[in-house]
Every structure is written in structure tokens, then in C-alpha cells.
Symmetry: C2
Subunit: 337 residues, 2 copies
């Protein structure tokens, strides 16, 4: 197995990217390819001794940043680490691509300049995996498609189901539709029409789920359009940051609460780890012809390592072949009825 | 001024409803009408001495609960406190209706059995007012309309602007559209088309806002469709409950953190008050022909009192007339161009 890692993904590129790759190289049964500015990667790698023999470097002269527009960089920076990394996968020289970089750019370059879609997949979906209450939950789409159609969401459910089973190890994933109410008939038009389509599949579709149900671990895969999914994820993150800021402010206000704050710090750190998105490291862009794992720009080395481990599981689980087969099977069921 | 209060709204009806009305009666320059089962209201009121002279009771024999279906109770429970309270407003016998009860039922009964829409308002919108970082932010729609059209959202913005100015006291409300990205051109089709419409109004439209910007106080009025708005509000609430549960669990795990937890309690209580939705008490259903304020079923007496104070400001600000004038003005601008 060969996994390509974007060395210029994180906000503190290439430091956590290279260190995370090194950490993964000690666990992964296969080779890792760091792609990006060769000199800077070498300089970073040389800090480590001995160098693992299963890491190689591929040079990429262009650098895509978080502020680059996805619609522009596809053409303007053809030698970016994202372009070159994804082409290695397209050309069969690697099995997966992992990046903590510009999500929109990875999506656009994968679709338009390298991998393209799996046959009969209508739209790829961007996912995120959260550990809520200890168990992983896969959300998709969280931003690749702001406007969706019911048959796209049906495919997102199928792809999420396959990923949950083959790469996350959930035996019978419970699939839910994100909605503004639990009851059948609740939701917007998209949710109601998608629910009807999902009932026609052999998925373990458990119906609608409101945000609070998700925190209780009601579902393993949560399907939504990329607009609502993005609002959910960003509200979750923003609420967390907002509340920690308020807690810090209020604790600092009095000597006694300040002392209490010092004493509860270990508990607060455990809370932070329990909601830490970096524990999973990254989540797949599903529906493209290759394994692509995308993580957060703020990732540390552990998160990069974990994203690489996600990629390894997705490759071992042969998710691309599984998605292709399952989508085509669903198509033929629908055409025969 | 006469404000009708649903005595059978909260989950612990009629206790907080009656007590909150009593608290408001000492502040409000006008009369309060408690509507609901007369005997139970009297029994509750008799606990207080002396009884304020500006509270009266109107009997309602049907009781609508949180689990009642809005589509059913409109016809099946014609003598509910919601029906009777709203009819008092419709018939000019009261100026506003306040309820902590079943939101869907208040919306349905207001629209179909009593007040109806303000002329030329396409759809009423349900709002919520949060105090984030001390300043109030009005969100709408948070659930009355799961599927929206751009011209409905334009009207939501106009109604939110009027409410912010006339009932919340914000001089030049900054209006934002909830979106998955700040940049112009981001968002789903609805957001992009609504943005174009909002640029044609004289509103202080500041563009798209992501959830994290809202927590930083970027906008005063945030407009969205009822599906996305509902997901945002419920994710905010669910994240808050989830994090407090985790914090409690982790603090209990060790004697030292348990001690620290006792010391930080005053700080945590201050945090809770800073995010407390009950401080505002309730928010308007905008676009119906009357002032209707709806609060949370979990409200305590203070929240009920504050919701009544909201109603008083909305009546004093003559928001119904202001909305009617402004919507018709916008219509004639559009017809003349």
C-alpha cells in the first residue's frame, strides 16, 4: 500500500504534516509519499533520526493556501501538492491521498483535474467523523453541495453506509436524515423526498434525527445537504469555542473560581479530548475515484497520523470498488422496477 | 394596554405562567388576562396576596399539550387557551398574546383560526432572540417554514429589522444571511438569490454570516430558512447540554476536580445566565395580524415575565402597523421598477 500525504496542508505546514507522516510510518504496513516543496520537506525530515525507509518525497513547486479560491487554483497552480498527490492516485502510483489543506481545492482538483467521479455517482460528498459520547458518527454532506437533490442524498447514504462498515468498523450502520423534527412527514421537501427513497433501499434507515438525538448516539451515519450539514458542523464548533471562552472569562473573575479553575483543569482537558475532532484525524471525500481523506487545517501531528490511518482502513476496505458496485446495483434495482 | 397570557403554556403549567404574569403585573402599565382553566388559575392566583387588580381570568376548557399535533388541534380543541387568547387579540379585546406552549399550534391557530397574515406578507416567520456576548440577536425563521423562497426571506429581513428597531431598541440593525461561507457567491441558491433581493432594499444588509461570526456579534438580525434556522438553534442547544454533561461527568471522576468543581460553581452559574434564553423570555411570530410572543416550554416565571415585557415593547412599538406599511412600501417600489 502507498499513501500520499500533502506536506503543505496544515496551517503550520509542513511541520505537523511531516511529523504526522513519520508517526504513521511506524504503524502503517506500506509506504508513505510526502508531496510538496522538496527542500522544505527534507529539512523537516532531517530533524528525525533514523529516517524510516518507508517514506519518500515527491516535489511540488506550487503551494495552495487556505485563502486560495478553489475555482481559481485548479488552473493557476497546476504543480501544487494537491494536484501532484491526486495524480499519483489517479495514475495508480498510490492508493490514497491525505490532506489537511484547502478542502474546496481538494474537492475541485479531484473532480476536475484528476480522479473524477465514480461511475453513476451523481455528486461526491464531503464527510466529517465526530466522536460524540465515544462512538464515531459520520456526517455527510458537510459542504461539497450546497443544493442537493433527493437521489444525491440517497447516494450519500449508500456511500456513508459503506464507509461506516468498511473503514470505521460499524457492523450495521444506522442511517438517519438530519431534520427539524423526528416525526415522519417533518423536514423540508428534500428530507421528505429523500426519506421515501431511502425506504426503498436495503439500508438500515432509522428515519429523521434532530441534532439533540445525534448527541445521544442515535445514528451512525447522518445524511444531509451540504448547506445544512455545514451549518450544523460550524454551529457545533462555534458553540464549543464560545462556551469555553465564557467559562474562561467567568473563572478569571474571582480568586476562588480561579483556584477552582486550576483544580478542574484535568477534567476540562478530558472533556476537550472527548470532543476532539483530531482523534479521528480526517474524513473521506466520498464518490471520487480514489481514497481521499481531508482533515482540519488546524490539525496537529497526531491528527495527521490518524488521518493517514483512516486512509489505510479505507484502502484496505476497498471502499471505491464497494461504492461503485453498490451504486450500480441500486441503479439496476431502480431501472428494473 | 391589555396583554393575554396563556396560563397553560409551560411544561409545569400553570405555575410559572401564573407567577410570571404576577411578576409582570407589577411592572406593566396595563392589564393582563390569564387564559386557561379558570379553577386552576384561580387556585394558583390565590396563593398570592394581595392580588393585583390588573389581572383578570378568561376561561378556556380545552388544553393543548406539547405532544399535540398542530395540524389536528386547530379543529379538535377549539376552546383551548391558544384559540381563545388569539381571538381576544383578533377581536380587539387585547393587544398581544403570549404563550410558552406548543409553537406549532400557536402558529397554526394564529394563521388559520384567528389572526391571519398581515396584508401582502407572504409567510409569517418564527423568531428567537439570543443574547450572545451580552447583545441580543434576532434569528428568523427558526421553524415556521421549512422550505422558503427568496422573496419570503426578504420579508423576514424587513420584519426582523422592524422588530429589532421598535421592540428591541437597536438603532440601525445589521442584517445578515446565514450561510456556509462569508464570501459573496457562497451559500445555496436560496441564499444567493435572497442576497440579491436584500441589496435592493434600504436595509443595512451586511452580507452572509457563518455561525462563528454570529457568536462574535457580527449581526443583529440573522435571516435564514426555517429548516437551517431550526438546525442552528437546536445544534446550539444540544451542544450546550452535551458539553455541560461531559464537564459534569469529568469533574466527578476525581476528588480534586470535584473540589474544583464546587469552587467554580459561581462562575459556571454566571456562564449559564449569559447564555440563558430565558433572559429574553420569548420571541415574536412575525407577519401575523397581531403581536404574538412565543417562549420555551421549559420557561420559569422570570422567563414568562420577560416574554410579557417583550410583548409590551412590541405593542408600544406598533410593530404590526410598521410591518404592514413597510411591506407595502417595498411592494410598490418593486412594482414601480
Amino acid at each position: 500500500m502507498r499513501i500520499v500525504v500533502d506536506a503543505f496542508g496544515t496551517d503550520r505546514r509542513p511541520i505537523p504534516d511531516v511529523e504526522g507522516t513519520l508517526l504513521a510510518s511506524r504503524i502503517i504496513p506500506g509506504n508513505l509519499i510526502l508531496v510538496g516543496n522538496q527542500n522544505r520537506i527534507s529539512a523537516e525530515l532531517n530533524k528525525y533520526d533514523p529516517l524510516p525507509s518507508n517514506i519518500e518525497i515527491v516535489d511540488a513547486s506550487d503551494e495552495i493556501t487556505m485563502s486560495d479560491k478553489p475555482s481559481v487554483v485548479g488552473k493557476s497552480k497546476p504543480n501544487s501538492s494537491i494536484h501532484i498527490g491526486l495524480k499519483l492516485v489517479r495514475d495508480g502510483k498510490a492508493d490514497a491521498f491525505v490532506s489537511m489543506g484547502n478542502t474546496g481545492a481538494v474537492h475541485a482538483i479531484a473532480m476536475l483535474f484528476s480522479l473524477g467521479r465514480i461511475r453513476n455517482v451523481k455528486r461526491p460528498a464531503l464527510s466529517v467523523i465526530f466522536k460524540l459520547g465515544g462512538q464515531p458518527i459520520i456526517f455527510l454532506d458537510i459542504g461539497a453541495n450546497a443544493d442537493c437533490k433527493p437521489d444525491w442524498l440517497q447516494q450519500f447514504a449508500i456511500m456513508g453506509d459503506i464507509y461506516a462498515r468498511k473503514a470505521v468498523g460499524i457492523q450495521h450502520p444506522r442511517i438517519a436524515l438530519l431534520s427539524n423534527g423526528e416525526e415522519e412527514g417533518k423536514g423540508n421537501e428534500l428530507v421528505r423526498e429523500t426519506a421515501a427513497l431511502l425506504r426503498q433501499t436495503n439500508l438500515n434507515f432509522i428515519g429523521n434525527a434532530e441534532p439533540k438525538e445525534l448527541f445521544k448516539g442515535k445514528a451512525d451515519v447522518v445524511v444531509c445537504d451540504g448547506f445544512a450539514g455545514n451549518i450544523l458542523i460550524k454551529t457545533f464548533e462555534a458553540t464549543g469555542s464560545y462556551l469555553s471562552r465564557l467559562i474562561r472569562e467567568e473563572i478569571r473573575r474571582q480568586p476562588l473560581t480561579l483556584l477552582g479553575g486550576a483544580l478542574v483543569r484535568p477534567a476540562m482537558n478530558r472533556v476537550r479530548r472527548r470532543v476532539d475532532p483530531f482523534e479521528v484525524g480526517g474524513a473521506p471525500l466520498l464518490g471520487v475515484r480514489g481514497v481521499v481523506i481531508i482533515g482540519h487545517g488546524g490539525s496537529n501531528a497526531i491528527a495527521v497520523r490518524n488521518a493517514i490511518l483512516q486512509a489505510e482502513k479505507a484502502v484496505s476496505g476497498q471502499i471505491v470498488t464497494a461504492i461503485e458496485e453498490r451504486i450500480n446495483q441500486q441503479q439496476s434495482i431502480e431501472h428494473s422496477t
